[in-house]
Amino acid sequence: MTVAQIAPVRVSAATGRTWLGLAVGALAALALPYLIPTQMSLLVTVGIFYLACIGLTPLIGQAGQVSLGQTLFMAIGAYGAGLLTLKWQWPTALAAVVLALFCGGLALIFGAAFLRLRGYYFALATLGLAVATAALSTAWISVTGGPSGMVDIPSLSLFGYEVFSDQANFYLLVVLGGIAAWITTNLRTSQTGRALAAVGHDSVAAGMLGINASRYKAVAFAISAMTASLAGSLYAFYLRFFSPEIITVTVAFSIVIMVAIGGSRSAFGPLIGALVIQGVPQMGQTFATWVPLFAGLVLIVVMTYFPGGLWGAIGDAVGALRRPAPSHAKEQR
């Protein structure tokens, strides 16, 4: 048993897998609109939800807190974008950015109150936000247009170019999703990410290292809010319409399900989750009927046996196959 057998394998397995995945992903992304032109709206939807999910990975995967309230921030991003552009003629891109920042601030405020709560009470409080969103979006007719929704939302206008077609929206989401994935990966592999992981594991011990647990959790929550808001705004610009049916409590659950199933500790996990939950039902009526049951069962199994999600389980399996257990090294000492 030599050092080489134990030490480098884990790291190179991870980076090798990452590069391969990236290459495949980039090629697939470029080719998809030509391979499956009829499924473009599905791809855009997957892209939107990927954005909403990837922002949750620092909070769920590192800081260990589950937020069921993504739909609140999506709603603010969507309805807000509609209002700002229709009523006050704001430029679309500016509206999206400002709303994202606003949601970040809102999350910090909510976080100050909610993050003091133990474990799942935080999740329940955010569930409350999701329920409030569903109710408000239907009831506050003067602002949201009620059940019939908000119409005539303009398309996103970027550097003078109107992002109107499915294809254009898809490519935009690929780029933004890629940036979001890059940012969350950077966070995960930096001191911030390590601090978040420590906070998620044991905030008391993290405090002993000098880490301000509340601040980190609050920032992770803010990140999830900002990406959700952006996703909401882009969805509104794409659909040119928004209604309460898009941000129901069921959708709030399904976003977390996507992250949990796919894996909250990587950039690919939420992609798998979004593809399964959003994509599979589109493949046919039978699929659409069976996916909810399947998704529920997979979530139960994953949460019980594979906390790292499907992507994490794959990674662990690959790593375990190539790496002998370090406890053998004890005999060398």
Binding site: A132, I257, P292, L293
Partner: protein, 292 residues
């Protein structure tokens, strides 16, 4: 005036269902510290099973009640054994919550597969002719609902205060570690709690479905209502669960008639969030378990 009373009573009828959902969640929570968001889903499942029994096999609506109670008590024990026990051993509380979300999702999915996306209802237990009381026209089913809630509350109280098992359950609820040291089989207590919750879900579903149309999408509103009622009332407090449920139903009934049902939901949520921030243990709960 009678109009007003009518909507209050209608709201209370819904409130009975919410109270039963919250009560089931509360019993489970006090024994195992698990918040089962799936409870609302099982109510709908029991309701639709009852409908199928009644319309498919010709069993009288009233007779479906005891059948469903038995099936669901046993069934929930099975679910607890297969799903909850392994998860409770391995998962953090946050992940356990997601397991119950998965269960809710799975039940909804099962309903979609088995019953499609159509709404269902069933004839009332004792006929359609309403009872006239003090100038009000009340469906007889309201009495069955109230009865179901009363039976559950009374039965639970009797079980917890007058039986040995109940004593063991109360001991487990107040201090699981000490209870285990005294030889109480904590995991068996957990199974019993789930069994009781199953019985209550069956009671709730079977008695409400003659009054309202239920379908696979109802699982989420019921889960949410149960969760609001349970948390505002105080997780782990049976009295709190019942109070919370009835209050929520009342709010919805009154608001729905005179204003906007969604505003009722909103008020309930505002109340929930306020409770969580100011007094996380709810109206009747005990404070130690919630803050860091």
């Amino acid at each position: 005036m009678s109009d007003y009373l009518q909507s209050i009573l209608g709201g209370l009828a819904d409130g009975c269902v919410y109270a039963l959902i919250a009560l089931g969640m509360s019993v489970i929570y006090s024994i195992s510290r698990i918040i089962s968001l799936a409870q609302g889903g099982f109510v709908v499942l029991a309701a639709l099973c009852a409908v199928s029994l009644q319309s498919g096999l010709g069993i009288s609506p009233l007779a479906t009640l005891p059948i469903m109670v038995v099936i669901f008590s046993v069934g929930m024990i099975g679910v607890a054994q297969i799903v909850i026990q392994p998860a409770a051993k391995r998962a953090t509380p946050e992940r356990l919550l997601l397991v119950t979300v998965g269960m809710l999702q799975a039940v909804g999915g099962l309903l979609l597969i088995g019953w499609g996306n159509l709404p269902y209802t069933m004839p009332a237990f004792t006929g359609d002719a309403p009872v006239k009381v003090a100038g009000l026209s009340l469906p007889t089913q309201y009495f069955w609902l109230a009865g179901a809630l009363a039976v559950s509350v009374l039965g639970l109280w009797l079980l917890l205060t007058k039986t040995d098992i109940g004593l063991a359950m109360r001991a487990t609820a107040s201090n699981p570690g000490a209870a285990a040291l005294q030889g109480i089989r904590v995991d068996r207590m957990r199974l019993i709690a789930f069994g009781l919750a199953g019985a209550m879900a069956a009671l709730a579903g079977t008695t409400i479905v003659p009054i309202t149309f239920l379908q696979f999408t109802t699982v989420t509103p019921y889960a949410v209502a149960g969760f609001i009622a349970a948390v505002v009332g105080g997780l782990g407090s049976n009295m709190g669960a019942v109070t919370g449920g009835l209050l929520l139903g009342l709010l919805q009934g009154v608001f729905g008639r005179y204003w906007n049902a969604d505003l009722a939901q909103l008020t309930a949520i505002a109340l929930l969030v306020a409770v969580l921030v100011i007094r996380p243990q709810g109206i009747f709960g005990t404070p130690e378990r919630v803050r860091r």
